[in-house]
Amino acid sequence: MPTGEPSIALSVPVGDAAKTTTCYMCACRCGIKVHLRNGKVRYIEGNRDHPVNRGVLCGKGAAGIMQHYSPARLKAPLKRVGPRGSGEFAEIGWEEALSIAAGWLGEVRERDPSRLAFFTGRDQSQALTGWFAQQFGTPNFAAHGGFCSVNMAAAGLYTFGGSFWEFGDPDWDRTKYFMLFGVAEDHASNPIKAALGRLKARGVKIVAVNPVRTGYNAIADQWIGIRPGTDGMLAGALIHELLRTQRIDLEYLVRYTNAPWLVIRDPGAGDDGLFARGGNGKPLAFDKQSGALADATLAGIAPALVGEYELADGRTAVPSFVPMAERFLSAEYTPEKAAAVTGVPAETIRRLARELAHTAFEQQISLDVPWTDWAGRRHETMTGRPVSMHAMRGISAHSNGFHTCRLLHLLQILLGSIDCPGGFRYKPPFPKPTPPPNRPAGKLGTVHPGKPLAGSPLGFPQGPEDLLVDGDGRPLRIDKAYSWDAPVAAHGLMHMVITNAANADPYPVDVLFMYMANMSWNSSMNIPAVLRYLTEKAPGTDDYSIPRIIYSDAYFSEMVPYADLILPDTTYLERWDCISLLDRPISEPDGPADAIRQPVVAPDRDVRPFQAVLIDLGARLRLPGFVDEQGAPKYPGGYADYIVNHERGPGIGPLAGFRGADGRSYGKGAPNPRQLDEYIANGCFHQHHLEPEQRFYKHANKAYLEWAKEVGFVGSADPIIFQLYLEPLQRFRLAARGHGAVQPPPSHRRRIETFFDPIPFWYAPFEGAVLDEAEYPLHAVTQRPMHMYHSWGSQNAWLRQITAENRLYIHRDRALALGVGDDDWVWITSAIGRVKCQVRLMEGVNPDTVWTWNAVGKRAGAWGLAPDAPEATRGFLLNHLISELLPEREGGYRFSNSDPVTGQAAWYDLRVRVERAKPDEAGESWPRFERLADPLGQTRPAVSAFGADFREAQR
């Protein structure tokens, strides 16, 4: 070294200890290694061995330190002492807090368990929370899926037993053509990023369909700046083109789908449109070999896809393929028609269809991996149609999301690209039967005081008889899930709970118990109304319309001041957690995986992990399963105890790895007292690796299905048949036509008739359809910044520096037409309200669309931020503009602003107009709400020099 250069310490160890755990900076659940120095978090890095992120870490994950040390952390249990919303709280001890909660909950349970509404937000412990609700006896349970992704989950599960995101993945390493629909930076955060990098390296063409060209869409080979809510029409036109040019995989259809199943054609009959079934109850097909009807599920038949056939009773039936093909071959789905709807030129649509077909059929791949199909037939190779797709909330959060998502799956299936090499692959425990067999519990007459529910509150209805409605067809759940409003509400409708409870529609609740969901702010539509519902008194009384609200959260969110009792949660580095196969696992297509969180540091505040609190409450309430025969707590060791020792079925527990007394069993096995140690030793996750012969065609792969049955993923090893034609929807439709014991009230019949079409179709999103489009000419959508997750990012000293305020982005040409310039302030007006904000012009956005970053706007005083923080003064939300209810229909009924099939909140249906604000209105966003009082007297440092303590190690 030449003289003059100082000598520097090059080999300082990162810290004095390191622990693996699972990230919680978003829903991606990457493996992380947390390095500590002197008991403080020094550095968080991605775990190289982890199946989700393989070592990388995103912008959020790498900012975890600032989340963990956020000044917005709650510090002790709180009891409300002032009026609701005032933020006046008294700190109380845990014993007092838990006895208050247990008192409220116990009283409700003994009187009417359904008067408890228990809803959780972005938690990752729904296997526990759902079980708590079941043992408590309330049907009023769900997590946040109703305003997140239920359209995607339900459409996928009912159609092919998997879904985008959690339950499947593109075959990143083999695909040759990749289409991304409506994905911003959403979930699967690092896997998608890493995969896009790999696709780029291999030169795979990436097509991004999204109204906004940012993030992933920016690096696509082709960006399709589609009009929001019209992706289904694009998919329909692609299907049209594939059919017209005879470019679909017919063999795949007869092998794996219900396309050949015969559908009864008998207009007016109670079984019109249902599958014709044989004496054994199995669907029928026409066997071209024997020239006769045959059990459609048999191997070796040659089922017809075309034609009209006579049934034994003399009626006619057609393969379900026929009405499906007729629909998409019709003039309704031509590229020209789609071009008018989507804004995508017809020639582009044709070209996409050609490219898809070319890749699927001319670039077919073949793996030399022998496998055996469900019928026991051996195949020497695995054929792949290397076209893959991924979709997310841009598809899901529309009132046509369920059918749009079905259209995408139909497109994939017609190309023969589900679970084949290069296509879209299931992540075990998926595929599940189409749909999964469990039905929602809580039917009329099954909810009893002091008793558990017969099953889980959430499930998959297969017809009107599975609905939770009373004799008049009125909803039995507070959120109206599984009612005629939203019959296939597989994730519930959390977004309607506060509105419905306050309006006693269908009935009031006594206790609203919520976890980790900012329902008074960015997780609700129409925030001013929600705040009113939370604080208004029941008519003629001195009680709040929602009398008691218990809320658990780690941070001082906007929701905290509206609760009566606060149970402060820990940060993600201070807790046990379980990413379970019973819930939303972290599996990879080559094998199921689950994971844990372990406490990396001890809390320095009087807080407890919510799951441990829930187990404690369960024991105090003496809920079955939470106490032993003597009434003593069954899991005195809290959540860790539960994770290891709880059995949902014999040998099946929250974690699938290291089971059995010796820790060698997978899936099923006796609880292993050393299970958590073994997970920790393995990096806090466990992945099972499927045999090569099990890795593709899982829905029809004997070796896979038999193994899946053995470990409890599926009930039988029967093949999983893709439901292109969705018979359960037809059952609902028949009820609307006056058939069956359970029928919709007259007000709902037309809606059910229209939207419960067994063949997917595109229809205009509701908000656009009911409003004058000339008055509200623009679509308005949000997307999440890559470096933030919901409202959490703004309390993070690092992440908020990246985005402390948001703009409304508008196309340059549209802005010119509106007389709006860059940095101008504008009013956005929807049918229910106005918002003022500042604009930025851009090229890469659909010209009929404006958009902004989600959840950056904050209420003054919340999240430990100064009241004059830019988030509060210049940030804004679109939520104020979105109605939770659709306009009144004939008869005065107001449906929720949701998908009519699943109840998924239709955030992205929003229509607005934009006008320039007056010069004197510039400078601050609007509306502004009263500043929240800080219940804890949080101190905000003027300067943060995090890491200064670590300096000594360097010198």
């Binding site: 250069e5 890095e45 900012a63 990023k193 896809l305 093909a325 520096q801 020099a945 670590f950």
Partner: protein, 250 residues
């Protein structure tokens, strides 16, 4: 030593792929995280929870739009110190706190001798130097000098933290002075370019330009299958059903 080494044994630096970067900020926050407790500790933040939050960051990601209409594109653009061969920031330093290492070309600031005069930040055309208002010294990218030689690390982790974290693999680290190195070859293959070569600073870091978009592929020209747009809808439908009426075994 603010006089520059005549030559450096190696030219360590980064190659940043603008074709692959999705702008996720992982490089920015992982850098902040590592370096606030590392060689540059701390990277102070001013008013971190207040009206005017700003702090010292060594890595920042811009997003630009380029071009108009259908030809336009969005490019995410991470920026950090380019570890120039002739760094103007070093020669202006009055104290010798700024220096370029002879061994590997890394440009560093010695936080124990920097007087915080800010002149180096004026001299740098790239905005790569950030003054730490609380610490009173200049901070900059160290190319993770406390990682890349760190013998307490596994060999695969001896890379800058931004490269370690980058989820898309858009960042590459290596010796750009060695034409045979992976980074040099990548830069050569992909037309890696310098930022503002006109300044004469001779950046070591290279940027890979966005690749040409493929709005149409070979498949679009001639496709198998029935592509003629002949006949009306009804006949297209009839032709389709005739085609699909095959003996297909299940």
């Amino acid at each position: 030593m603010t006089t520059l080494p005549r030559s450096t044994a190696r030219k360590l630096g980064l190659v940043i792929d603008l074709d692959t970067c999705v702008g996720c900020q992982a490089c920015a926050t992982s850098c902040k995280e590592w370096n606030t407790g590392g060689y540059s500790a701390p990277l102070t933040d001013q008013d971190p929870y207040g009206a005017d939050p700003h702090g010292a960051w060594l890595n920042r990601v811009h997003a630009y739009e380029v071009g108009e209409g259908a030809q336009s594109r969005t490019v995410h653009f991470p920026r950090s110190c380019l570890h120039c061969e002739t760094p103007a920031c070093v020669t202006v330093c009055p104290t010798g706190a700024s220096y370029k290492r002879a061994e590997d070309g890394i440009v560093l600031v010695n936080p124990d001798t920097c007087i915080g005069c800010k002149l180096c930040s004026w001299a740098c055309p790239y905005g790569a130097r950030e003054y730490d208002y609380a610490d009173g010294v200049m901070k900059k990218c160290t190319l993770c000098v406390d990682r890349i030689y760190n013998e307490t690390f596994a060999p695969e982790d001896r890379i800058p933290v931004c490269v370690r974290a980058c989820p898309t693999g858009a960042r590459h680290f290596g010796d750009l002075g060695d034409p045979a190195s992976a980074v040099s070859q990548l830069a050569a293959e992909r037309g890696g370019f310098d930022l503002l070569p006109e300044t004469g600073c001779k950046p070591v870091n290279k940027y890979l330009p966005p690749r040409p978009r493929r709005d149409a592929t070979a498949a679009s020209a001639a496709a198998t299958g029935v592509s003629a747009n002949s006949g009306d809808e009804a006949s297209a439908s009839a032709r389709f059903f005739a085609w699909a009426d095959k003996v297909l075994s299940r």
